[in-house]
Amino acid sequence: MSKQVTDILIVGVGGQGTLLTSRILADVAVQMDYDVKVSEIHGMAQRGGSVVTQVRFGKKVYSPIIKKGDADILLAFEKLEAARWLDYLKPDGMVIINDERVDPLPVMSGKVKYPLDIVDKIRDKVPNTRLINASEIASQCGNSRAANVVLVGVLAAVAGLPAEEMESAIQRLVPAKAIETNLQAFKEGMSIIPN
């Protein structure tokens, strides 16, 4: 059975700017006349904890959350978080990982080690894994903080979302002074993975 709905799981650490990414994505899906549902959790978990936003779009979407093992794309803003949420990915799904390490408390305190081979482990299980150095690309565009929009570009390319609509959504949703940097970051992101 071919899927009627595109499921994108965006994960990261509280404060990394995952919300802007899901907003841009959802905005474009709405423009394209899809039925769209986005689920995110606020509150206590946001405080430096693991955060997840679920974006679903298609002709008709019922559940606001993605069924475990059903996500088409897992976009991780942090490497450990990619592993944490990997079980939501469908068997032939794609993982896009930002090459960013944010130590959780047990690592910071020296109780456990950050698993340095985590991307290799993910790659072993999911061949379609891409590691993106979004911060560096964003720096080259003018501001490392546009890393999330680099990842939006990557996502647009792999999910087949129209560049023009994405760019106009970015213009609507980022602060005026950051538009140029963010558009450049988006273009760079789009070009990383050949469509």
Partner: protein, 580 residues
Amino acid sequence: MKQLMIGNEAIARGAYEAGATVATAYPGTPSTEIVSSFAKYDNVYAQWAPNEKVALEVGVGASIGGARTLVAMKHVGVNVAADPLYTFAYTGVTGGLVLVSADDPGMHSSQNEQDNRGYGKFAKMPVLEPSDSQEALDYCRIAFHISEEFDTPVMLRITTRLAHSQTMVEIGDMEDYQLKPYKKNVPKYVMLPANARGRHVEVEKRMLALKEYAEACELNWIELADTSIGIISSGVPYQYVKEVMPEASVLKLGMVNPLPETMIREFAQKVDRLVVIEELEPVIEEQIRAWGIPVEGKELFSLLGEYSPELIESVLKGVRNEDLYGLVKEIPGRPPLLCPGCPHRGVFYTLRKMRLVVAGDIGCYTLGALSPLDGMDTTICMGASIGTAMGMEKARGPEFAEKMVAVIGDSTFVHSGITPLIDIVYNQGTSTVLILDNDTTAMTGHQEHPATGKNINSEPTKKLDLPTLVKAIGIENVRVVDPLKLDQLQSAVQEELERREPSVIIAKRACALIETQPTGIKYYVDPELCTGCKVCIRLGCTGINFLDEEKVAVMNLNSCVGCGLCPQVCKFDAIKVLEV
């Protein structure tokens, strides 16, 4: 045109379209955005109340005064408001009143997962439950009409998943609602026993009329398909059912109190197997069982937590949902923690260092209970810290109070910490109470409150002066300290504990997320001086990490905001100011 809205925004929109002009709330995840969204509309009045009881009482007054009124709170807030609620259910309304209860199955940000649909039955009030943002908007509008037609407050029960999911919404036009005239009506609004007896009769009549309404209203419907299984569901779980059981027959309930008995009986007769899918308590299931209809529910589905599409699929279709990859078991967890620069951090570090018993409360600072700060012994509900400390002292004697403090935030203190402080003074307790005053309601996203001196629209208003208030209560030992100055904080706590009198220490510093003045100071760890003792790591701050191989601490300059706590705890002066 359709647009995306979270459930909370859609509820605000629904109230606005219904012509509501008054909205009141105390902020609480996941309900906060309802009234903060409503406040953005023109020509309406919205407010943060000091607590949910006041919020509802203001709502009651607005309704009696003739306005359509929206009141919103999280599930446990309804407990605080329960006293006026039960009696308001007797008096009924003038202008329609909708009370939103935002429940939190799974406890994403709460201390319990009580199911507030139970209030509907208990207070004899209709309860509507939307399953997406469009329904949230529509049901809110309908709820105002039910409220006025049946002369009752109406509960709109939502869950975190609805409150914080964005789904497509078609907005509508505003109703032309005119403020109803105020008429003195003593038998209806003065709940003396004689009048209340009369009103109870009306309540029972109303419930019978609502039962009839439930049978024919647009809120409940049957989707007849494969009749080998019939599912009764409501709220977001209905969407999960549609996702994984598109072939099943479904009775979708938009009104969960009272239930449409005839409709349910007819549905039950048409299907071979009847299953109720409802998160938390078997509210619908038990009613159906009481009617003698064979039904399955909680023997299949848990009383605990939030449901999911995969859960329903695995229970009803036998689809095994094994983890495909299983890497999650191999990696370290990522617990939430206090932000870098948070003024609460040093408080809990100090309290633990002093080995004190800490009666805690509800807010960001509840994270002070987690490792490595480990700075809290109890957390029950909003405001409980002070009464709990008093009870411990009365059970164990004043010597025990010399090794114990109550810790409460500024917003929480105003919410429900004042009366227990009066109790300490009145009944001659000797507790030391720390008010962690960060000048905001932080956990819920920085809402104003009476002691910030600003209203919901960030306009200046009379500021509640906490030291003056505390003194007026009769606390003679009141002092204000900077929680980032650890020596000052510790000696203040020590001195007040030694005093056999009640004391209040206000640890005053703005939340690190609203403090816009950066310190500009960056620190570094001198690896020659660092002995690897990990005292700084016990602060639990992302600004300082421990290198396991080198056995030294190192600053994380991406995270550090230069609050200056870690140099104060280092006994070897290894943390120094970085010359930039």
